[in-house]
């Protein structure tokens, strides 16, 4: 990893201690937190105001997709994280082993543990319980898997794993203020997971690309944006692509994309006037080895195109009836799916270039 280390007037320091698994983990960590936040917003803000069965269905599907994707993403991300370690089994003893609470790796581990608890419970409550026995919607696929297994288990007559899970879900399900409290604390842990993935990097002061002022904002915006995109991609697949819920989340996502883009441009500006490592990183991203990943993948396809696509669809939906026509409805559904897919791809590439474009400050020779 020394494609930047060609200049001979400095002692360039080797980098590349983290490979693609960590980029994947950083992406999935942010996505997971964002998907949970999407689920909570849909449940707490949109669902109470939803009118009509189609809109209620879209809200509930979004909530469920957000929670289910949150669980899957944090689980896969956790495996990706562990797989890069030299001693992954030893790392599983973290409650005892991780003693340096000043390290963001330790702070982040506890955020992940707490968040994993909240997001798993949320998915459990949204998949199981008395009111979910007549389930409809693609987001119920984990329940379908459990039902399928249940039907094949050699259990005594009258025994059912699904029935037991429904009973437990209703037994421990919070209601009213308790539910709001659970969602509030869960949202704090979700935000913590998203932001920690940036703080982990920005604690490394010798890598100017990992800027403490800009990167946490960029990762927070990207985490929330990819979370919305992943959850709403599910909702679109479930048939809720033309719902008001989808439109509102899509607009919220556009706001996040706008802030993320401005902050990214700000970071590039700071790098331009930084030291040699900052300049190297900037060149790697804008014209060097990672130009296709960053300029084409992150900036154009991951931010600008989805934003323009969304703005176009929003304008057409607001001022024309094209969304009502069969062809228009298909085009809009495909457009939303394309937008969310591009945001997800861009989100992954963002983590990739932030990791692989990192250059450590060389030892200076005045």
């Amino acid at each position: 990893m020394s494609d930047a280390a060609t200049a001979s007037e400095f002692v360039w320091i080797a980098r590349g201690h983290w490979e693609i698994f960590i980029a994947t983990y950083l992406f999935l960590g942010g996505l997971s937190g964002g998907a949970y936040l999407t689920s909570v917003v849909s449940s707490e803000l949109f669902r109470p105001r939803a009118e009509g069965p189609a809109e209620i269905f879209a809200c509930e599907e979004t909530s469920r997709w957000g929670a289910v994707i949150g669980v899957v993403a944090i689980a896969v991300g956790g495996v990706a994280l562990l797989s890069h370690l030299g001693a992954p089994l030893r790392a599983l003893t973290f409650p005892v082993l991780f003693s340096n609470f000043g390290s963001w790796l330790v702070i982040g581990t506890w955020f992940i543990v707490l968040f994993a608890l909240f997001v798993t419970l949320e998915a459990f409550w949204l998949l199981f319980g008395e009111r979910h026995t007549d389930f409809e919607g693609l987001s119920y696929f984990p329940r379908r898997i459990v039902v399928w297994i249940d039907e094949r288990l050699p259990l005594p007559d009258g025994w059912s794993v699904v029935a037991m899970l429904d009973w437990i879900a209703d037994l421990i399900r919070p209601t009213g203020r308790a539910r709001l409290g659970v969602h509030a604390v869960g949202s704090v842990t979700a935000t913590g997971v998203i932001v920690y993935t940036a703080m982990l990097l920005t604690d490394i002061s010798v890598v100017p690309l990992w800027n403490r002022q800009y990167l946490p904002v960029i990762f927070l915006m990207s985490g929330a944006s990819t979370g919305i995109s992943a959850a709403l991609l599910g909702t679109v697949a479930s048939g809720g692509g033309l719902s008001r819920t989808n439109h509102l989340f899509c607009l919220a996502d556009d706001g996040l994309i706008a802030v993320e883009t401005v902050t990214l441009v700000g970071l590039l500006g700071v790098l331009a006037s930084g030291g040699p490592a900052a300049t190297q990183s900037r060149e790697l991203l804008l014209s060097g080895a990672y130009f296709p990943h960053f300029v084409v993948g992150v900036l154009v396809l991951g931010l600008v195109v989805p934003f323009l696509l969304s703005m176009t669809m929003t304008t057409l939906a607001r001022f024309t009836d094209i969304e009502e026509t069969p062809l228009g409805a298909s085009a809009f559904t495909g457009g939303f799916a394309a937008k969310y897919f591009l945001v997800l791809a861009g989100g992954f590439l963002l983590r990739y270039v932030i990791l692989f474009g990192a250059v450590k400050q060389p030892l200076g020779v005045p």
Binding site: V106, Q361, L363, P366
Partner: protein
Amino acid sequence: MGEQWGFYFDADSCMGCNACSIACKNRHDTDTGHVDWRRVETVSEGEFPDYEETNVSLSCMHCEDAPCEEVCPTGAIEKRESDGIVTIDQDKCIGCGYCGWACPYGAPQYGDDGLMQKCNLCLDKGAGAGAGAPSKNEQQEEGTALEPACVDECVGDALDAGPVGELLDKASQEAAERFEQNRTNVIIESSGERSLTGMQGVKQAAEDS
């Protein structure tokens, strides 16, 4: 608190022969190829005939405020009170690579087992050795202290190791002042126009950014 140990390096005497890095590899039986507890870098400037090269022998600087220790999640990295040497306890290391990013000098190395290993100022022999070893000061009093292999094999006497106080006695005033400004426990001697300033350069570049 025991006397702090460190290295002394005279860039004017280093010919870049790599005897130091090979001697280190031999003594600690480190993995071939990608694991270098000590390495020699060459910095160049200008064009022929106005051309100058400086060889720099680099290892762990045993920093006063070791950034690797600050980020290590398990506390496997320790800046020892007894002799100032930064050690790694491989039985507590999870091989996360965070220290590798935090170190401004590229000192942490990762062997085939994925665990961190690095210079321990020859507290002991072998890969990953050093953690829990008696203080270098005690070893010296008992006459059991190993002279670091890099110092032992250095052809031009460019490298030395010992209590920092003793090393400062042999250092020039410029090198001593440079050391006081940047407490890395490595005293760097260089009379050339170009002098490697270690942490100073890093700090300056970081501030610039």
